[in-house]
Symmetry: D2
Subunit: 315 residues, 4 copies
């Protein structure tokens, strides 16, 4: 937590120490980590700052009940699996989570595309940003993928890697120094008025860190995780999503289990793919050409089924 | 609470008795009434079943802060007033409330037009509705307004009132009896199969009670209240909104105060109305014709300003 | 079209006759049916009253292009399938459709749960509803399902069917007659004031017809269709969804094709179900108990795969 | 249009030349400018690429009508003013507009906070951005405001202005050159693999231009304009909003007129401000202290009423 000022640490401690009594549902898993920053990337973090409801809330809402929901965990589990499997979304909208997140601007731009959420971002019109920017670790410094226009390929090595890191660092440092120079905060140079903050910020690059409060309900939280914890998501946002999958587990263990089963580890098979699978089960010979699937679709289907691309079972 | 079964009352008592410890922000005003049904109309109720955040949450989000927000109540009040006055909506999205509501279907149909919320309704496809329908009290049995096509006029009296109440009661009772007859639940009549619940329900009239879990954030909660606690709202939904204004006061007293000042007791003046007000303040003579406002607009403006329709100050 | 007044028919004719020139994208399939009511159930209809965009609009937006999109239909088809398969939703939000729908109130209550749309409903606070209510055709008069708490079973026969139809008709007729009596529109009975419309409507049952303008984008339109054209949806709303699948085909033929392939005819397999399928393909013996699936899940999986419940291929 | 390639100009010409016949409502004002880029800032533009509906659509939806709406323009105008004055939002949701916008990233970050809209942005994961960045014109190069923490003050002059422009230009140029160097597109340097596009983009500063397709309904379009064409909005986004107010006028002239009257030129007066205005009209002496308003609120009220801060009428 070296990135926090002693004042910030004191504020967090104070919040964690102020224990109150409530008759609301409580998630012990989340109470344990509330307010504490979980580090992500080189300068980022996620802090859970509030929540409403737990697995019970889902069950309770689905039943429009007067009391706590069902009596037994096994019934709750069955109902939660059923709801998620059959795309019942509204009971999962009945629980909420609120985060304080510090993240690079280019990650923030992906994140905010999830509209069904609430956001309060630190304002660089109003305040001055800190001198913190994201530099990838060497193992994440990848070349453009040759096969996938929006993916990464091999890791850069040697001189090229060194030069890229050097350029990223040098340009970000210069862009901040000139930002500070233009701002002339505190009238460092008495001969200058200082450029308006809302203008000066345009000189910062997209790897600078911003921060925000972000709130979503459990349904939309899972939609976010399904897309952003996916292997096809950009590594930098996936680093946040991976942390949030642990948060999900602490918060709503039964829903987390159902999420892994019915969303994260599940697959959608198209009408043509289903026909192909039926033929495979019946033991009929089948390959891409005879399946009616495109090469790409066939590749995706065999991957999901753990087969090699010829259609034979992978060892 | 005569409308609750002893089992329901026991469930509510159990919830109220299960006290836990939390380090989340707490609203003492809401904890006091959590889970308890507040009666509305003849068979309806509102129960607050959960909430997230309080006035602090608004301040905290607006500042994207590490700790509790500002240090002093007067600063919090000032900030909350400022935010509401300048239509900053996102900080108010950071607090949430969840209700269990029992309400007539025709009220539910108005309520659900507020899309920025979450709803789980008791399913009459799945379960059988209770024999409960709304009958207005005599003082709310109004004639069609002569001047306003979507409003009420004088209260019906004497024979007409008695006959209307009688018709409403008789038709609702019959529609329920025939609903029950068609359902043939429990195989009361062994010679019948019983009509599917999803079909039989169509025989019920719009004054039957349904119930749901409803969740909204503080911003959308206030939008709901501004429209539904308004004197132009239909009385029956206003009865619910009036209860919820008290809930707002218990939950977030500073926001409630700012809501009364900047939304509920405020008025929007059009460009032409502003010009008219400037002339009034300058002491110029002005009437509807010379104001450039339509009769209706002039009537609305003079009402807001406490003037009679001639433009003179009302006593 | 016997249900329309000659004035309404004239209005529709006039709209269809008023041809204009545009440089916007046009869907010839929709122009052919624009404004014309398509009958649904006994008194309902759907009219397409406006639209924006066609298959090109999806491609164009996905490419953020200056011109029409790609040059060849085969490329457009490939891109649209790709987008739908990979849950890219925003390009499908770029086309819109607007409908005028007449539908029973209990259907309207299901329909409106789709919040990502816009609705203007005919106001029974402001106007008087017509004397039109839904009565199921005999072949849709089903008993409660024994196995599925929210489904239908066998068709009612003989005396029970006749009595149900009779009750539905008689109660609806009476509820309307008393509605009209309480309203006393036009002062039919000079001794009465007439009950306010906003109150009188509560006497109508849920099978009365209402009408609205409804607008959704193509993405949300397909979400609606996926849920409401599903065999598990209640028959009465499915009747509307079935008509709308034809509308989809006329409007955006390539997207319609991709919708059938990747949504409507597709299936989601859970992590455990995928493991079971892998074992089936490898020729391993497997049954419900050894699959790790619940009975219900096993039943759903074997159905999707066209197997009987023992796991053997269905003939 | 020097910023467009000849290929892009040809594509636009082709779209404008492809005239079709439709029976949908048409907005002649928009047809005249469809597809043509309107320049904004130094390299940005707005192109209207599609629309649905016009003023008629609002009227038609409000009436849930079979035909075109009302018969006379004066009735339409009255209804549209009424709807906007009384915050009826759904009829204005029934018309849609779709834009292609090129804008600096820091403007895009403000713009996208309007969630009730659809966006497809040019992907810098997938493609390489152009070498185009925003440099303010000298008259917009303002100092930080002394009185308003999120506003601009005086215009920078002389050496300070020259240096700021120089820094902005130099840093942006370098950040692009190094972006290109790291990408090594086309294998310019055979000894390098080239950094993945999704990573390299983080080196670009926030004044680089991006582009997107953006779609909103008329209601949300006006909400956007009310906030972003406001004098308190940052100049750079206001430049876009100002163009869009002209687009609004071309598209829906009656709604545009009502927007100026009831939103843009209107003011919200708080409960306390209304009391103060009543006293002013009654000729009572009043100043900030006796008004119950804060200094800031009093300043806002006197400004809206065209008074000087003493409360006396401004000349």
């Amino acid at each position: 937590m070296s990135q926090f000022t002693s004042e910030q640490i004191a504020e967090i401690e104070q919040l964690r120490g102020a224990r109150a009594s409530t008759i609301r549902p409580v998630s012990d898993g989340l109470e344990d980590i509330l307010y504490q920053p979980i580090p992500v990337l080189d300068h980022g973090f996620i802090r859970v700052v509030d929540y409403m409801g737990n697995d019970d809330a889902v069950v309770q809402a689905a039943r429009v009940s007067y009391g706590r929901g069902t009596k037994r965990v096994s019934e709750d589990r069955g109902l939660i699996h059923y709801l998620l499997r059959h795309w019942h979304t509204t009971p999962f909208e009945m629980a909420e989570i609120k985060l304080h997140v510090k993240l690079p601007i280019f990650v923030a731009r992906q994140w905010i595309r999830h509209r069904m959420s609430s956001v309060n971002e630190y304002s660089a019109r109003y305040s001055v940003l800190d001198r913190e920017f994201y530099i990838p670790e060497p193992q994440h410094l990848a070349a453009q993928s040759a096969s996938n226009r929006q993916g990464r390929g091999e890791i850069l090595q040697g001189e090229e890697a060194a030069e890229v890191l050097d350029l990223l660092r040098r340009d970000a440092a210069r862009s901040y120094d000139d930002y500070a120079l233009m701002l002339n905060e505190g009238g460092a140079d008495a001969s200058r008025k200082g450029l308006a903050r809302e203008l000066a910020r345009m000189n910062l690059s997209l790897n600078f860190y911003t921060q925000w409060y972000w709130k979503a309900d459990l349904h939309n939280f899972m939609s976010f995780l399904r897309l952003r914890a996916d292997p096809h998501a950009q590594y930098e946002i996936r680093a946040y999503a991976d942390v949030l999958i642990d948060v999900l587990k602490r918060w709503v263990p039964l829903t987390h289990e159902a999420f892994l089963e019915h969303r994260f580890g599940a697959a959608q098979l198209s009408a043509t793919a289903l026909t192909a699978v039926r033929r495979m089960i019946a033991g009929e010979p089948i390959d891409q050409a005879s399946s009616g699937l495109t090469k790409r679709e066939w590749g995706e289907l065999t991957a999901v089924l753990g087969l090699d691309e010829s259609g034979a079972s992978a060892k």
